[in-house]
């Protein structure tokens, strides 16, 4: 664990330079401890790092650094209770109209679209971090056969709900945004639902499994959400 001063009032905790579930669990654990400290203004947990901005009127960099070091030596990181570990089953329509990059992914991976869908729906993914735009889950890791490059020319507008691949990651766009991920489907379950008091569907550490649906099922679920007849609770496992 490397602790460095980052800017004037922030500490950066860097763990092993890998995308790895255990390393990421240590990030979650450190982040939850930091979030409980009144001296911390906000945190940004990521794959293998935590940025924590502190109030310099309440704590100094050195005191904070020593406190974090003392956690490492004294405690095991099994403090994340099982109730915080949530699992989701999220429907995705992989039909052609939602999968503009399926052909490109097929040729890059030498797989058929059926094989791609089967691999994407049979792998449990972990939410490694939330970033890029509010509520965007970085999910991983993809099976090695599914790894693919980002698009050479990013799209100016990726539609809301789009499910994409990039490197060893997959993700769902919470809103229309520019983006370079390879799009293979679309989910009608919104990762950012402004009708909810807590609008963010996913948290770091959640498990997500995808299952395939038809375009008509997609439209039924999407309509249900927009009318407030369906909530995200139906997708907890």
């Amino acid at each position: 664990m490397k602790l460095t001063q980052y800017g004037s009032n922030s500490i950066l905790i860097q763990l092993k330079e890998v995308i790895d579930p255990e390393v990421n669990e240590t990030v979650s654990w450190l982040n939850s401890k930091l979030e409980m400290m009144p001296e911390i203004v906000y945190t940004i947990p990521a794959y293998n790092s935590v940025t924590a901005v502190f109030n310099p009127g309440k704590i100094s960099f050195d005191v904070l650094k020593n406190r974090i070091k003392s956690w490492e030596s004294k405690e095991k990181k099994n403090t994340i209770s099982s109730k915080e570990q949530r699992s989701f089953r999220i429907p995705v329509c992989y039909e052609e109209k939602f999968a503009p990059d399926m052909e490109e992914v097929c040729s890059y991976t030498s797989l058929t679209s059926e094989q791609i869908i089967s691999l994407h729906t049979s792998t449990p993914f972990k939410v490694y971090m939330i970033g890029f735009i509010p509520g965007f889950p970085y999910l991983g890791k993809l099976p090695d056969q599914l790894r693919c490059k980002r698009k050479e020319n990013p799209r100016k507008q990726v539609p809301q709900g789009a499910v994409g691949l990039a490197g060893s990651q997959t993700g769902i766009y919470p809103a229309q945004a520019p983006g370079g991920w390879q799009l293979i489907g679309n989910s009608p379950v919104p990762p950012l639902n402004l009708a909810e008091q807590n609008p963010f569907l996913f948290r770091m550490g959640d498990t997500v499994r995808f299952y395939p649906i038809s375009a008509s099922e997609h439209s039924t679920i999407a309509t249900g959400f927009s009318k407030g007849q369906i909530t995200e609770k139906e997708f907890y496992e």
Binding site: T4, Q5, Y6, G7, S8, N9, S10, L12, Q14, E17, V18, I19, N31, E35, V41, Y42, T43, I44, P45, A46, Y47, N48, S49, V50, T51, V53, M129, I130, G131, F132, I133, P134, G135, F136, Y138, A175, A177, L194, F200, R203, M204
Partner: protein
Amino acid sequence: MNEIVLTFKKPGLHTTVQDLGRLGYQNVGVPLGGVLDRQAAKNANYLVGNPENTPVLEITLIGPEITFNTDCEIAITGASLSPQLNDSLIGNHQLISIKKNDVLSFGKPVSGCRAYLAIAGEWQVTTWLGSASASSFSPELLTPDSLIKKGSTLSILAGKSKTSRNKINKRTPHADILRVRVVPGPEFEGFSRLTIAHFFSAGHIITQDSNRMGYRLGTKLKGGPGNYEMISSGIIPGTIQVTNEYKPIILLADAQTTGGYPRIANVIEEDLDSLAQMKPGSELWFSLA
């Protein structure tokens, strides 16, 4: 209480409602947002007797034209954008009494990039996650009142505050060439000596392709990219990333919360306000704090 209504005949170049930002949601990817020159915004609220986190208008280079429906008290701080009340020039950094049907407009930008307009009272604007700051993401949906357009109106309930002041001590300096102090960034050691030497020994022009998310600098740094791929990690205001084209970007309040470009340095907190007053086309130099 008396309702003050502002009507915008002209919106200006980029006029938004901002407060001190959306703290605490950066763990779910929400940009911080909020005024870029915090000292200037706090000064404006101080002058009119508002709490410091009251919203203000952040006015960028070309100001709006505003009609007031009733009497109220205002103050303008930050950039000098030639404010005029009914066609007479007025000054920054003072309490100004507005009368019913007065028109506030702005003229030639003289110095600085962002002016702040505070109005005494409680702002009746939509907030998202506890902040009225215009969201950089889906603003029409999340903070519809905070993105000023032609014909927009803003409503403020006039307070009874009599604590307005007429003096402020600390003002953000404005310059066309500025030296800002930085500390080494997390990936500083990964850059070559040639790159680091170039970074510290040249003036960097702020390009036109700059906004509240970040200042893109025109310099192509010597030395070429380092040879490692970075795993996305946190970004804070003042972080300087170096892109694949080997050009620096200074990230500001509306930047996304994580990024995958190496971070060469961070502008220190004390210099972020004066940085925010730099216009595209002006020149920045970096020195180690």
